[in-house]
C-alpha cells in the first residue's frame, strides 16, 4: 500500500507525535475500492473505508479519518492539536455534524 498523505499531530505536554497516514485506494472488486487510514498511538485506530469508486473511497476515508480525530477524547480535552494550537483546526475539515465543536466544514 502506498501512503499518499501523512501528517504529524501534536500532543499537549508531550514531545510525542501522533502520526496520521492515508493510503492510496485499492480496487478489491467490481464497484469496490478500499482506502485505508491509520492513526498512530496513543489513539491507535485504523479503518478501511470502502467506496464504489476510488474517488469515493478516498473521500469517505478522509471523512472517516476526520471524524476519528475530531471525535477523539484527546481532541475534546484540548490535548490534540496541530500547528501549535490544541483543540483547534487539525489541518483537515470536520464532518458537518461536528460544527458545534469543530467549525471547519468541508
Amino acid at each position: 500500500m502506498n501512503i499518499i498523505a501523512e501528517q504529524q499531530l501534536d500532543l499537549r505536554d508531550s514531545e510525542a507525535k501522533v502520526v496520521v497516514r492515508l493510503f492510496a485506494p485499492e480496487q478489491k472488486g467490481q464497484d469496490l475500492w478500499v482506502c485505508r487510514h491509520e492513526i498512530g498511538e496513543p489513539i491507535g485506530e485504523m479503518l478501511e473505508t470502502e467506496g464504489v469508486t476510488s474517488l469515493q473511497a478516498l473521500a469517505l476515508a478522509v471523512k472517516g479519518l476526520s471524524a476519528a480525530l475530531y471525535s477523539h477524547p484527546l481532541y475534546r480535552e484540548g490535548r490534540l492539536g496541530a500547528f501549535g494550537e490544541f483543540g483547534d483546526y487539525l489541518g483537515l475539515p470536520a464532518p458537518a455534524q461536528y460544527q458545534r465543536f469543530a467549525p471547519f466544514p468541508f
Binding site: D31, L32, E45, L47, T49, E50, G51, V52, T53, Q56, L60, K63, G64, A67, A68, S71, P73, R76, E77, P95, Q97, Y98
Partner: protein
Amino acid sequence: MMPYNPVDPASLEGDDLTNWYLRSPQEIEQQRQASTQQRYQDFFYGDGADRRTANVATPSQTSSLARPVVDSGTYGGRAPVLQQASYVAPAGAADGPSCATCHGAPPPPIPVPHLPPFPSGWDAAFPTLPVLRDIIGGGGGSSKPPEHDRKQCEIQQRRDGEICARQPTSRANAVCRGTAMDRYSHCLDTGEVDTPRLFTIPGYSR
C-alpha cells in the same frame, strides 16, 4: 425461569463483543424479560431471591403476595417469611373482610408493568441509544463516548458496508456508503448507533 445473569459488554472484547452486539431480537427480548423478572424478584423477595428460592411465583402467576419457599439450609434453617403479621389493628378498628389492609382479604395483585413490543423499524442489532449507552457506558449522556463505544462504531461501519455491497445498483451502493460514513461519524461523536438512517433500496437493506 433461568436466573438472569446480566453480561457487562464493557468486559467483552473481540468476537465476544461482536456476538453480544449482534444478538437476535428474540435473544434481546428474552433477556429483557429476564431482567424484568429479576427486578421483580429482587424487589419483593430481596436481592438474590431468585438464586436462593426454589419455588417463587412469577409475576404472571402472582394473584396475591406469595410466600417464597426457601431452602431450609439457606439461612441456617430459619426461612424468612414475608412480613404478614406485623400490623396490629388498633382497638376498635374494623376487623374482617372490610379491612383489606390488615386481616382477611389479601391486597389485590401488584400490577406488573407491561413492556411494549419493539417499535416497528427498530433494529435489534443496533438499538437506538440512550438505552445502549446506558448499558455499555454507564449512562450520563456524556459528549465523549468512551473507548468501547468507538469499537461499536467500527462494527456498525463494517456491517453497513456489507449491506451497501448488496445494493442492486452502483448508485444505490454509493449513496448507501455515503450515509454509512455519516452514521460512523455520528456514532463517534455521540455514541449513538443506527442513526441517521442508512439509505438503502427496500428489499436490499439486510
